[in-house]
């Protein structure tokens, strides 16, 4: 365990905070915020996975310009694959968020509150 691990640990901490919000909070909006925090934490972890320390100097962005050869990219750039995954994950996160917000609005229409403690039934 070295200081190199710190970003990963902070990423996991963020994840735990999100899970805490989902479990402990009784306000729908706060639960949704918890979901978003979890989303960001996973994306952050994914992007960290793409970081490489053995590039010789600061890693560069994986963009293939006419001045660079593919070999140079492979040698010096960070891993672009996790970045591609994150794009997909962000899109999925967006659609989930849209749906969950729509549900929350509908629920507010029915109950006039975002407090899950005042909802009628369906516990346990």
């Amino acid at each position: 365990m070295t200081l190199d691990m710190l970003p990963y640990l902070l990423g996991f901490l963020l994840l735990v905070i999100g899970v805490y919000a989902i479990i402990a909070k009784r306000n729908l909006i706060k639960v949704i915020v918890g979901l978003l925090v979890i989303d960001y934490a996973t994306n952050l972890l994914l992007i960290l996975v793409g970081y490489r320390s053995n590039t010789g100097g600061a890693p560069m962005a994986p963009i293939l310009t006419p001045q660079l050869t593919p070999a140079q990219i492979a040698r010096h750039a960070v891993d672009p694959l996790p970045q591609a995954l994150i794009l997909t994950s962000i899109v999925i996160g967006l659609s989930v968020t849209a749906l969950v917000v729509a549900l929350a609005i509908r629920l507010y229409d029915r109950y006039g509150t975002f407090d899950t403690g005042r909802f009628r039934n369906l516990r346990g």
Partner: protein
């Protein structure tokens, strides 16, 4: 020959687009069902065709014809074919049932569109050859099912959907974290490649791997971290106790055909199937995962059954019963894994392990049939009487004879009465547990005792259901109940026959075609996955691949 695999995703995906668009053109809500039923029939035909084809004729499909490191593959082996067939059968019945049942809801186009999206997601999960696409399809199926649970937009349905969505997204986030860690450790997303890496005991390739790994064998600390996240994620999707909180709300709140789909196939395709695939093929069948699965399965089995006894809402009772029955499947699969891990010590264990997996998959198929039938019957009853509270029902045995017989068949099958298929699968699981206790470890006696006890409790509460619904004098709610329309009757009757016919899986000709290849995939532990899993030769254009972004020094 044309590769069949892409059609399993493309056909329902096209349906998911077409049906909301064309939905407005149809004159009546019944007519809107014709196109979806045709799509369902086409998928059923495709699934049957795929099962009949030998493995050699179903090569992996590479999307866009991109080859190994860049491309994305769809892979079908014995296990995925088996699950595809189960999904196709249940979804066809559910679509047939929807034709008359869904006339009570508005906007049939949207309903069928979401149904098709869910189907595309499930087929995609089953066929996906790499982890990330598995995740994407999981989310497609998930989002469609969240929306379908809320389809009635009553307060209860919205609330159930919200809970389902939050826990479902949490599960997906766990899965994604696990994918990140696995990619970091192995440098691959392809399932077969990951499995291969674990067998070849990899060195850590990046910082997280280097910091955490103690490099003993193939499974290092970060791999166990990833496995823990994957287990949590998919246990949430499969609703194993203690991750089950969303299921008893979500499944009863959906329209009846959707409940049938969710309980019948979604928790299996997106939960149990992926769990089995990962622990056997990818994590090379380590014993500890088997023990975890047995414990989780036994917990689900007992908790689900005990909670089901006290329910007074028919669909809620069925939902708890789903938790319990999926517990059986998971116990069987976990037992198979444990025995397989111990099998080098004794040859007999290997045979018992294969039988355990057979029992588990057989029960999976059986449960898909009888639980979806039970949910459809509950829909028929609600359609005819307007209620599903057990104490307000009664006397339907005379009023709705066909539905009554379907309910009897399903209840007998799920309680494990011969000659229904449900008896044989439960019996095989019990037999395996006893054999495991005798041959391997005394702790299996406990599991066997629990399985037997739960079987009795199951018999008890389904006897209660039959009494409450069919027996006695008609109540005010059931006094003018009439038999359901043709489409619903046909769907339930067909599934009721399947409850009986599923015993035919024991026939050698069917077994060798359908279940044995699936069991073989699991028992082969990784090695089979590597052969079938999409590893075309790299040599010829290796130079070209190094130019590609994926080859950042991670590929051989």
């Amino acid at each position: 020959m044309q590769n069949l695999l892409p059609f399993f995703v493309a056909v329902p995906l096209a349906g998911g687009f077409l049906m909301p668009v064309l939905g407005r053109l149809f004159a009546s809500r019944r007519a809107a069902a014709v196109l979806p039923i045709l799509f369902g029939a086409a998928l059923l035909g495709l699934a049957v065709r795929l099962v009949l084809l030998p493995d050699a004729d179903t090569p992996p499909y590479w999307m866009g014809a991109w080859d190994f490191p860049i491309g994305v593959s769809l892979v079908a082996d014995g296990l995925s074919k088996f699950v595809l067939l189960v999904v196709a059968v249940v979804s066809f019945a559910a679509l047939l049932f929807s034709m008359d049942y869904m006339t009570r809801y508005t906007s049939p186009g949207l309903y069928y569109g979401l149904f098709m999206l869910m189907l595309a997601g499930m087929n995609g999960v089953v066929l996906a050859g790499d982890l990330f696409n598995l995740f994407v399809f999981l989310e497609v199926a998930g989002i469609a099912s969240y929306a379908l649970v809320a389809f009635g937009t009553e307060a209860d349905e919205l609330e159930a959907s919200f809970k389902y969505l939050v826990l479902g997204s949490l599960a997906s986030a766990f899965v994604l974290v696990a994918i990140a860690v696995l990619y970091n450790v192995t440098g691959h997303l392809n399932l077969a490649k990951i499995a291969e890496t674990f067998r070849a005991s990899p060195g850590p390739s990046t910082m997280l791997g280097a910091a955490l790994s103690e490099s003993k064998g193939g499974l290092t600390v970060p791999v166990y971290l990833a496995a823990a996240f994957l287990l949590m994620g998919f246990a949430l999707k499969a609703a194993l106790v203690p991750f089950h909180a969303w299921l008893p709300d979500a499944h009863p709140s959906a329209p009846a055909p959707i409940s049938a789909m969710l309980s019948g196939v979604l928790i299996k395709a997106c939960g149990v199937y992926v769990l089995a695939r990962l622990v056997f093929s990818v994590f090379a069948g380590a014993e500890v995962f088997g023990i975890i699965l047995v414990v989780l399965g036994a917990l689900s089995m007992v908790t689900g059954a005990l909670l089901a006894v006290g329910q007074s809402d028919l669909k809620r009772l069925l939902a708890y019963s789903s938790i319990s029955q999926v517990g059986y499947v998971v116990v069987a699969i976990g037992t198979g894994l444990v025995l397989l891990a111990w099998s080098p010590a004794s040859a007999a264990l290997g045979a018992v392990a294969a039988l355990a997996l057979f029992g588990g998959l057989f029960h999976l198929a059986n449960h898909a049939v009888f639980k979806s039938l039970l949910f459809l019957v509950s829909g028929s009853i609600e359609h005819a009487t307007g209620t599903r509270a057990l104490e307000r029902l009664g006397g339907l045995g005379r009023r709705m004879p066909l539905t009554a017989w379907c309910l009897r068949a399903a209840a007998l099958a799920i309680s494990g009465i011969p000659p229904f298929g449900g008896f044989f699968s439960k019996f095989i699981i019990l037999l395996v547990l006893v054999q495991a206790a005798v041959l391997a470890h005394w702790a299996f006696w406990i599991v066997a005792g629990l399985a037997l006890g739960v079987a009795l409790v199951t018999l008890l509460y389904y006897a209660k259901v039959q009494r409450a619904v069919l027996g006695g004098a008609p109540s005010p709610a059931t006094a003018d109940a009439r038999e359901v329309p043709f489409g619903m009757a046909l769907a339930t009757a067909a599934l009721a026959l399947l409850c009986l016919a599923s015993a035919l899986i024991l026939h050698p000709a069917v077994k060798s075609r359908l279940v044995d290849p699936a069991v073989a995939v699991l028992t082969a532990r990784g090695s089979a996955a590597a052969e079938e899993g999409a590893t075309p030769p790299l040599a010829s254009d290796a130079a070209a691949h190094t130019a590609q972004p994926d080859a950042l020094g991670r590929l051989p």
